[in-house]
Symmetry: C2
Amino acid sequence: MGNVTIRDVARRADVAISTVSRYLNGGALKADTRAAIEEAIAALGFRRNEVASSMRRGQTRMIGILLCDTIEFFQYTLYQTLEAELWKLGYQCILTTYGNLNVSDKIRTLRQRNVDGLILYYYLPDPAVHDAITEALEDGVPVILLDSDAPDLVTDKVLVDNLNASFRAVEIMIQKGHRDIAVVTGTEKHPVSSERLSGYLECMKAYGLPIQEGYVLYGHFSIADSYNAVSRLMKLPRPPTALFTGSYHMTFGAIMAIREAGFRIPDDISIIGFDNVEVSEAVLHDLTIVEQPVDRIGATAADLMHRRILGENGEKARTIRVPARLVMRNTVARPPKHRENGLF
Amino acid sequence: MGNVTIRDVARRADVAISTVSRYLNGGALKADTRAAIEEAIAALGFRRNEVASSMRRGQTRMIGILLCDTIEFFQYTLYQTLEAELWKLGYQCILTTYGNLNVSDKIRTLRQRNVDGLILYYYLPDPAVHDAITEALEDGVPVILLDSDAPDLVTDKVLVDNLNASFRAVEIMIQKGHRDIAVVTGTEKHPVSSERLSGYLECMKAYGLPIQEGYVLYGHFSIADSYNAVSRLMKLPRPPTALFTGSYHMTFGAIMAIREAGFRIPDDISIIGFDNVEVSEAVLHDLTIVEQPVDRIGATAADLMHRRILGENGEKARTIRVPARLVMRNTVARPPKHRENGLF
DNA sequence: CTGAAAGCGCTTACAG
DNA sequence: CTGAAAGCGCTTACAG
């Protein structure tokens, strides 16, 4: 077994190979022809050679995926939903991540495999990568950008409405009476971080609150960077009474640092994290969070890709912003009396 | 561009297509022939169609990879090193994870893509999966099992020497004078967990120490499960003076729970984690750990796969145990006097 | 060192 | 509803 071909099946079923092919592709067949083919397939253990099929059809039903190599587990979760959704639609995924190697080369290598589409988590504004993406687009290969609104790339995009989500999170803290609100988020270069930061800044501005010195913290999306940054934060002469954290791992790091510094949540400091519900539920069962809709991002991107491949989406590029949801729980309380903002 | 073929290159360079093919495959060429082909390739923007090449050669240079869908980020890190190493060797990876869908079907679908090999993180003893793996092996498709020593599957295996590593970690605690040592590790079904647990049990036995009731804790390899388990542990009438944790995430959960319960590390309780150095370095810079050699697992598996494909490994299946390394830092101290084991 | 020819395993018009 | 034939873009013996 193993290299049984359509020819063997045809011979055994006593039909032409084109008939077997028709069977495989769901064409109309007389009942007994169908039965004979099915018998032959079962008896021989035939499985279609997808490589040959891909070559002939000019479609591989493979999607190339490029993700970051950060520790942030968001990437892995995202891949899983993406892959699961695409699998249901009949696609398999080739996954690569940023690495020592040149990202634009990775994209080109993926293209040499004749992937039917490319889903990229792309945020570093690298001109070489930009070119590789443009080439793909010019050659008619659909590209979906995740978590990036790169305005100079005219292609489909799926992103989380980070700005609004952050705005609303900060707003809730303000409405509880907080004024000294800090934020810790990813590196400035990352559009996700900067959108989350913008939400914070815009909200503070909207309510006329000042940004205290040392209250805006950056780092990688990691437990470590957040832990270190928040440790410093809590040592400030005037530590914040509320903190907004930019990711799952960052939330853990922040909580560790806060507790270690001897502050209680939410009595001394309120906290709102940014992440995925199911995950934080168990440990941080009382954490108020902005829910990162990973499943919806994955499902949306998969669906968009499928339609694009079928040519159902019309010509123009679409940008889909998946909304984030606030999950109110118990880590936001009023600040100590003397530190209220006096607005409410 | 985009569908420039070898034929176009041949025409422009005024040579036969077989000559272009020879160029692409590194054959010997006269200098001017070579130059003409290179000129044509550059001018036309030709890139070899890997699908056609795969079909003709009967080799796809693609490796199918199956991993868990657990939260544990070990999987993602592992994939990254695996993929990076394989990429260097000229392979791309199709990644799928356990999911709602049938794992044996996933393996078969991967095989229909004519992957050159399969690298599987397989631990659930599912007979259907077992069959799918056996089929692959029978058809001559190399399979590497990760972190599993499934004795009834005669194939290459790469695993961490969990048992020894755990034994040594626990031994260090015992030599520091500990007697009341607890362990928190993954679900019993997982061979990795059970090996780590065995190391603990064997070491305790070797030194004649009793296992206190409630000191052996299970959970998923997650921050959450570990946090919950260790929270209970620290509420026992006689909490342990030392704890061995079974994974990266579990270590975080344990530390959170310990600190929250008001215990100091290492004054009140010593701790040794099981994980990857680079990652924990920043936050838990003083944590004594058993280093999980993710990079070596990935590199070893990639190398083994490559040789297997080239047919260099001879006939018989190899099992490679990658040793873990103890990284001594500062989270192991002597227990309080009255709780010493009196052995040292 | 180079070319002409066959063929990898399918699918797709085109006849019948 | 079914079959014979051409061809997808390469690689690989085989000649020369």
